[in-house]
Symmetry: C2
């Protein structure tokens, strides 16, 4: 599988590089030359040279299409020239060990996805986020901030920190990741955080079980510094373009509209229909070069979601099969972990894309939703995500799609007459089949084919192979369990 | 007790009327003559004559000190001249029966405490309230709206309403109260409402148990019309001044600052200290005539809170004993029911007082807080109320008190050396005694006297008598229960 992925990655990024050659140097004042990056001897992406001069200038980069929240894209990676000094400094600080998911948040904050946030939230920001899904800036303006982005510590760590004002952050394997400065420690009322974020405290919320329940009873906020860009070395790092890199790429491509599509599932032809139809409409509206940011979420997902590497391979196939146009699409990984917090989380998904330079955001039915963990119903009203997004404070500058009045016609479903995914037509409702993510997984798991035209064959094959490998794995594990 | 109350009411309102004689006619363009109101042959208050002409003009009344939210004070009482017509019209509409607490909300909405809200929330307002504690106005401005103000109906009522656009609202005893027009019916997800409002779903929240759990699974929003002002005929209606009446009274008194104090408990000398100290500081700041709005909550409270009539008698004693200055104080009842929702609810308490014309709001420790219903701790961090209030969106025009940086010194406690309530002095912490509401009730219930200087003797006597009457009642009831 790994080889196939790499081939498609190369194919995809060669396209990116081809358009990158048309680079017009943007109006940053500082010239930033893309530097090709090689991984396992294969050209996989380009990255700007991160000299100290560029670093400090880069914090002033503004999108030509949409301003980052707070006006300046946050970038918390220490210039390489200062890395040694900060490392020595960090060695004398009390240490806080990060979990895998804490590290994903460090990644998110350090690259400015959560701009203007400059570190894990202090209580003042935490309370604003919980109660208003917003932060008020010093100039009185409001930015959206719907999820509390916080770092939990236990009693023992709190005691070890004592009255220190700075702490060193260690990764899950013990390596020094960064520093949190001018810290503030405050109570982690888990029940209140969960209730206000998810609108339920029912047992079985994936992020709660994985992250919050095992976490400590204190939160530590402060200003973050990261010693070097966060990498995962999983063969997918080249897909992890920072907001700064994405903005640069959009400018390189001379895009006049960026429409972002968040997903955490394989792409079926219904998704593709929505994306292609959006492009068509943007062209109709007079945009000359709308670019799709196909932006799968790369952080924590629940156990029964399709893993990131398989999804990336599936996405590559979709581009290879021509279901989406590689010439006008950028595939990149959004490094955030998933909360499954419906209307609260969809705001975060949209807000982060503002910071990445997208000025249009596609929202589907029941974004960031899931089944209620203990009751037989959806956790959220499937329409609330769209509604809350459209009324959200601090997201006014973002265009929320679909445009059409009345959302019903925007729902893609399988048209059993035309044998393809199409926009649902209420006048002949009985011709349409809704194929949920669960249904799709059931098909793939049982080796059964979905209806023709549901997904491109190449993409479907990736899924079937994944579920076969899963069953093979389960089969080898089962006897061991039985005899134990 | 009833006679005593009436005597004090008269004493109090005579003072009000005395100052009312100094009336300068305010700049409303329409001259509104205060009309004395008699109850049981006793002059108890004044009320403007509600002619149709004045009614329509009154919606344009603005405070001289602070604008109501949305710029115009909402007033949804139908002019008397149209009452007959509307009654006839309502008779052909499907009926929705209100609970006692629904009626309290009708009262609140109809008088403009929740301005710019003009009825029970439709889904659009409900979602904004739940997620942002705010409503966005058409001009883009934001007003605070932290509590969902909604009307629940059951499946049967929903079916009866069918596709009607208007419904008639009946009071708990079946009398026609008003009309809800252009209605919208949407799902009542109780779990989500509770979690996002209280930050917990633990069993035992008083408002949840009393109102939400027994309520139907649908909410109905729409534009409210009330046929006549809501009255309770409990001997306390003269205390229930509407925001419009309060604003008029403030203008009559030529107040240049109004500082509101919300309470649902008897007034002890610590409260009085805070109120008197606030007045002193306002004078220091240069205000010439600051008026205290002593504003006890009059709607639903939990079973172990002191009932409204007893509190009103206690408050009268406090004024009579001179602990608060009747010349510069207006006592009035805030008709809202109590949620006990801490930081979320304190915003409502403050916002409603903006509409009543107060430009200063006093907030104490743990406002609208209570013990966690199932765990041995406060439900809310006692400091969060103040913090959230100070950062709340839509409350920017309101001055939140206390002024001093650092809230600690603002906490009143019993000084065992000086034998009086005083601001807590951390340098001699051991001299201070914190007397909680629970502690106070325990004293009163056991007939034990609190420390000298905790509460004026007249006020304390009212409480002791109340708890004695309660015990007497329990004693007579007990055998009946045992023999049944």
């Amino acid at each position: 599988m790994s080889l196939t992925i790499k081939a498609h990655i190369a194919a995809h990024f060669n396209l990116n590089l081809r358009t990158a050659k048309q680079t017009k140097l943007t109006d940053y004042n500082v010239k930033i030359r893309p530097k090709p990056i090689y991984h396992s001897n294969q050209l996989i992406a380009f990255q700007p040279k991160m000299s100290a001069a560029v670093k400090s200038a880069s914090s002033a980069i503004k999108s030509s299409l949409i301003e980052p929240d707070g006006g300046v894209l946050v970038d918390l990676v220490v210039p390489e020239s200062e890395r040694g000094l900060r490392t020595t400094e960090a060695e004398s600080m009390p240490r806080v060990k990060l979990t895998k998911i804490d590290l994903e948040w460090v990644h998110v904050i350090s690259e400015g996805w959560a701009s203007p946030l400059r570190g894990f939230m202090r209580e003042n920001e935490y309370l604003q986020s919980l109660h208003f899904n917003c932060l008020r800036m010093k100039d009185g303006s409001i930015v959206n901030m719907s999820l509390p982005i916080v770092l939990a510590i236990d009693d023992e760590t709190k005691e070890r920190i004592g009255s220190s004002t700075n702490v060193a952050l260690l990764g899950p394997t013990g390596d020094l990741i960064g520093i949190l400065r001018s810290i503030e420690i405050y109570k982690h009322n888990k029940e209140e955080r969960i209730a206000r974020t998810w609108g339920t405290t029912a047992a079985g919320l994936p992020y709660v079980e994985e992250v919050i329940t095992p976490a400590g009873n204190w939160l530590v906020g402060g200003d973050l510094e990261v010693l070097k860009p966060i990498k995962y070395n999983d063969g997918l790092d080249h897909y992890r373009l920072s907001p700064q890199q994405l903005r640069k790429e959009f400018d390189n491509r001379q895009a006049d509209a960026i429409f972002a599509f968040q997903l955490r599932n394989p792409i079926h032809n219904g998704h593709a229909l929505l994306m292609n139809d959006t492009r068509r409409r943007l062209l109709e509206m007079g945009y000359k070069n709308p670019i799709l940011l196909l932006h799968p979420l790369g952080g924590f997902t629940k156990a029964d979601d399709v893993p990131l590497d398989v999804r990336m391979e599936q996405h590559s196939k979709v581009l290879e099969d021509g279901v989406l146009d590689p010439e006008t699409t950028i595939v990149s990984i959004f490094p955030s972990p998933m909360h499954y917090a419906g209307p609260t989380e969809v705001q975060w998904h949209a807000k982060a894309r503002i910071n990445a330079g997208a000025n249009f955001y596609i929202v589907g039915r029941d974004p960031a939703g899931m089944g209620h963990p203990t009751e037989k119903r959806d956790l959220y009203d499937p329409d609330h995500g769209k509604k809350v997004l459209s009324m959200a404070l601090g997201l006014e500058k973002l265009n929320i799609l679909p445009f059409r009045v009345g959302f019903l016609s925007e729902v893609a479903a399988y048209d059993t007459v035309e044998k393809k995914m199409a926009f649902f037509d209420p006048s002949r409702a009985k011709d349409f089949l809704f194929i949920s993510g669960t249904k799709m997984r059931t098909f793939a798991r049982s080796g059964e084919n979905p209806p023709d035209g549901f997904m491109c064959p190449g993409g479907w094959k990736v899924l079937v192979q994944y579920y076969e490998s899963l069953q093979a794995e389960e089969a080898t594990q089962q006897p061991a369990i039985l005899t134990s």
